[in-house]
Subunit: 275 residues, 2 copies
């Protein structure tokens, strides 16, 4: 499995991915799932991939040379010369379809679904930053202020903290921390998501970054985050009042008659009606 | 969708379920998913169900009268006269197979999977408490000290807090709080899980309970839990140091060379090799 998250904030972009790949639980390997494309001063893009590894590796390889042509006479465009991130996402979508045309039938014949999921974001000079989620069919959606992030792979365990924290105004480093906490929750619950982690943070209008880190489980910051988050979460849990069944002794009774929702009736005889 | 959790502790049992049912997102109804069977002084059982509602309602109805016979001459047993929770789980499994035999073919013809998932736990006099997870095929597994809980339905969002808190020694009210926090995280992330919530807590060796509550979103305890957990989780998140990219100014650097995991190389030209 994979877990990857891409976040678009007013201040910049954050990308985080794990690097564990599995074919069943007994065939686990390490593959990096992030690629950084950078032409300093001109364009900066990051691609995260999940799904079938043979597909995503093909997509990554072919994307380097894939050209998008509107019609026969048009100038061919690639991610290296497109004018907009939207066009870059179209080149990526076309690349996915290219691999589909080449491999999907043989995969289907072997009982393997054509499954790939990509997060693709960045900035090209003259344009604002943009963040896309590209699907197996080569179609894509774009992140908005209401939904400033995308996840790929094993997304559920790590979603609650993203929903609680992220807004477009979130500072970059706080969003990076949020992504790492989200990853930590995911790795705790799903063995097939694992280290090392690739983290990239991009400051808006820089068109390059040196904020690229690879974190394994011995990384001092990750270790601090992992142990502090676990311990403090537990402290918060302990600080909340336990439920009290006797209404007389609490300000927050558990059993109240609001008139709308009746407590369950017990069944006490074989012949009793259920409903 | 559904979310249900059953927990077995040394001190007793905790059951919690939501009551939202959906056929697509535009057909949402309220159905209770928990049943309490109680013969005071003799036996106490709780059944939670998830999956296709027509199947789980049939299972619940038929379970009331279903009999398990080892062979033709054997005395028929039901959940009301079995000697052990294991036999009660077998009766439940047989009930699932009974419904399968009746409905599965027609469902398959209509393109509907035979999908039901049940948590079944309780105590019969003379036996310790037991907790089972019963599957669509009528087979089942039992909770152990290492894994003292089962979830059904939309389980992922609410799993991290269960993993962090629950052990067999957890007090009953704390486990009830944990189940409610788990439910709160699930409802925050999945619209198809919703109130009212049915909560049942059983004290070991009582063979009955009066700790049965139905919580809607106006319930004072749930409201306290919901707002406090959200706020304090945010406080904890804020209390953790943000990552610092400049190693000189932190004790927990983000970029360290452990010699094992290399930071990602950037791609900066179309012809550049990826690997």
């Amino acid at each position: 499995m994979t877990y990857g998250v891409g976040i678009k904030l007013n201040a910049g972009l954050v990308f985080l991915s794990d690097s564990r790949t599995n074919a069943g639980v007994d065939n686990i390997s390490t593959f990096r799932k992030m690629i950084v494309y950078e032409k300093p001063g001109d364009r900066f893009m990051v691609l995260l991939s999940a799904g079938n590894l043979s597909i995503s590796q093909s997509v990554r390889e072919i994307l380097q040379v894939e050209q998008l042509k509107e019609h026969e006479e048009a100038e061919p465009v690639t991610i290296w010369n497109v004018r907009s991130m939207f066009d870059a996402a179209r080149v990526l979508g076309q690349t996915v379809r290219h691999v589909y045309d080449r491999d999907a039938e043989a995969l289907k014949f072997a009982g393997v679904e054509f499954n790939v999921s990509l997060i693709f974001g960045g900035q090209i000079r003259g344009e604002p930053m943009r963040l896309f989620h590209v699907y197996s069919a080569g179609n894509f959606i774009e992140a908005t202020a209401e939904t400033p992030y995308f996840q790929i792979g094993e997304s559920k365990y790590g979603k609650p903290v993203l929903d609680r924290v992220l807004t477009p105004d979130t500072p970059l480093d706080e969003a990076a921390k949020c992504a790492l906490v989200s990853m930590d929750s995911t790795m705790k619950s799903n063995l097939s998501v694992g280290p090392p982690l690739d983290l990239v943070v991009y400051d808006v209008d820089r068109f390059e970054t040196d904020k690229i880190a690879c974190l394994d489980m011995n990384n001092p910051y990750y270790r601090m985050l992992h142990s502090s988050w676990g311990q403090k979460l537990r402290d918060v849990f302990d600080s909340l009042d336990d439920p009290v069944w006797d209404d007389a002794h609490t300000e927050t009774p558990l059993k109240v008659d609001t008139g709308r929702s009746k407590p369950l009736k017990k069944i006490s005889r074989p012949e009793e009606r259920l409903i």
